[in-house]
Symmetry: C2
Subunit: 227 residues, 2 copies
């Protein structure tokens, strides 16, 4: 496996706690692939707007889609810079000192000017990858988009050249003088699990597909297994 490293820029270089900064593409791509959604920020008339949205990655590009009248995507299609943040919460960190409480997490931040994708084949490919990244094998078990649907769907492609990850793992980092204090300290791992699938009213008599028959399995682990 090739492990390409990105060059940190002024914006992606970590100021504080620089040892948490990660610039290898493998880590950055894995976090993006596991994160079920991201937060997309743009400046509108000089003021920030940030909204949650789904994303997907193909090679060294990230794709975000929306309705054709989506004002954030339109602004980006017209050349506005975007900043995208995707975060996975892995655990709670309980230190002996109140102020040293923290979280274990993996996050990625991307700076990019996006470009609108108009080729229907690539638009469809981005949508297929998005659905399959969240639920492997799902795309082929659903109706593909029509030309008319693709026309009213805007897809923006972002380069992943200016990106970095930040990762915190492990126990709390209390000051030496606090380590004798009588408080329990440590970390609590968290995981996102899926519960039993709930069929809708139109699925009477349709058996649950095998790719959905894994209740209570960790989503993160599922994604890692299917990579």
């Amino acid at each position: 496996m090739t492990t390409k490293n990105l060059s940190p820029t002024d914006r992606t270089k970590l100021g504080r706690i620089p040892q948490r900064g990660v610039y290898d593409c493998e880590t950055i791509y894995q976090i993006l692939d596991e994160a079920p959604y991201c937060q997309l920020a743009v400046s509108l008339q000089g003021n920030p707007v940030v909204l949650p949205t789904m994303h997907t990655r193909i090679d060294n590009k990230l794709y975000i889609h929306g309705a054709k009248e989506n004002r954030l995507l339109n602004h980006i299609a017209q050349g506005a810079q975007a900043c995208i943040s995707a975060t996975l919460l892995d655990g709670l960190v309980l230190a002996k000192s109140g102020l040293h409480h923290s979280m274990n997490f993996r996050s990625v931040v991307i700076y990019s000017t996006g470009i609108e994708i108009t080729d229907p084949k690539l638009k469809t490919k981005a949508l297929e990858t998005l659905v399959n990244q969240i639920v492997p094998q799902r795309w082929n078990d659903s109706r593909p988009p029509t030309d008319a649907e693709l026309k009213v769907t805007k897809v923006i492609e972002f380069s992943l050249e200016e990106a970095s990850a930040k990762v915190r793992t492990g126990p709390p980092m209390d000051d030496k003088r606090d380590q004798e204090l009588p408080y329990w300290s440590g970390n609590i791992p968290l995981k996102l699990v899926w519960e039993t699938p709930v069929p809708d009213a139109t699925s009477d008599g349709i058996p649950l597909p095998a790719y959905l028959s894994r209740p209570h399995e960790s989503l993160g682990k599922k994604w890692q297994a299917s990579a």
Copy 2:
């Protein structure tokens, strides 16, 4: 219980699918209290920057803290507008049509100019509320901050006056013509659970506190129960 409604502004009014827009404070506050972290966006030299950070709510104010050299918080302390997004992922939505796949979620977006809090009592109160909102009863089982620690910690207070929630629940919304298709459709509820707490090397012989003895309990439900 009083249910105050915020007045939608041009920025918080939902354009598409307006029935998902929620403006009552009770819903907005509940999402903010349950979300373990948020994404804080500002414009730096006209370009967006968004980063994950922890937050807490006291009444109709939101508090975010960081190191005193934190460039986003400093920018906000100097008067820059912020946009804050907090999202809870509740489930996956699998439609019969590929393009109608979605997620069930509850999210809040806030537009606010923050002000720096310098009163040590209010700073401590914000930190206490933050820790206890994530792990109830924890603050009193940890060392309180010293004056010196408070001095190097920046706390910003945001008004929750210009905020809105967006909520999606329930089954997919397929077009009528797709409802006869043979694909399974429905939703998969997700939950964030905590696994067995892991003591660090300085906690030998310290029993796990009762407030941490609830492995595999849904975090969301825990927060709802403790409200």
